[in-house]
Symmetry: C2
Subunit: 97 residues, 2 copies
Amino acid sequence: MMVERLSELDRDEALDGLTEWDWDESRDAISRRFVFADFNEAFGFMTRVALLAEKADHHPEWSNVWNRVDIVLTTHDAGGLSARDIDMAEAIDALVG
Amino acid sequence: MMVERLSELDRDEALDGLTEWDWDESRDAISRRFVFADFNEAFGFMTRVALLAEKADHHPEWSNVWNRVDIVLTTHDAGGLSARDIDMAEAIDALVG
């Protein structure tokens, strides 16, 4: 499946709906930090994201330190942000309510 | 429980037994990269490490990109490497055989 990098217009429109995410122009990626009560909650969240990612076959770059999870989304095949990143960001946001 | 930073002597002895791990002097931390066949294997490994970490109440700083997991171990309470990091590194190594 061909994955297209979003045009600037589509990207700006998508980012309007993802106010909690930061856009990194240098990487054409979006990122968000999630903070939980403790490691148990943080890793529980990661497990849910892992299942989403595997199902969508679209995986984050992410890191975890104790109660904190940092997620970066970009589409290597498209050389930047694609609709798959926006869909994944929305699905992840839905997990945290 | 008081956790003591390892002396240089104890650290060098411990690192001799952890040949797959790199020591980062600037952070007084040890790190190792693990590479798996795919995300399924990588996250399966992370889940096992998470259970070890939670049981030991000693958690890694780590990141994952697709089939790759990078783990950093240090003991913030001790201001550097402690016996808890060595124990955790050995337990993690035991998972990958």
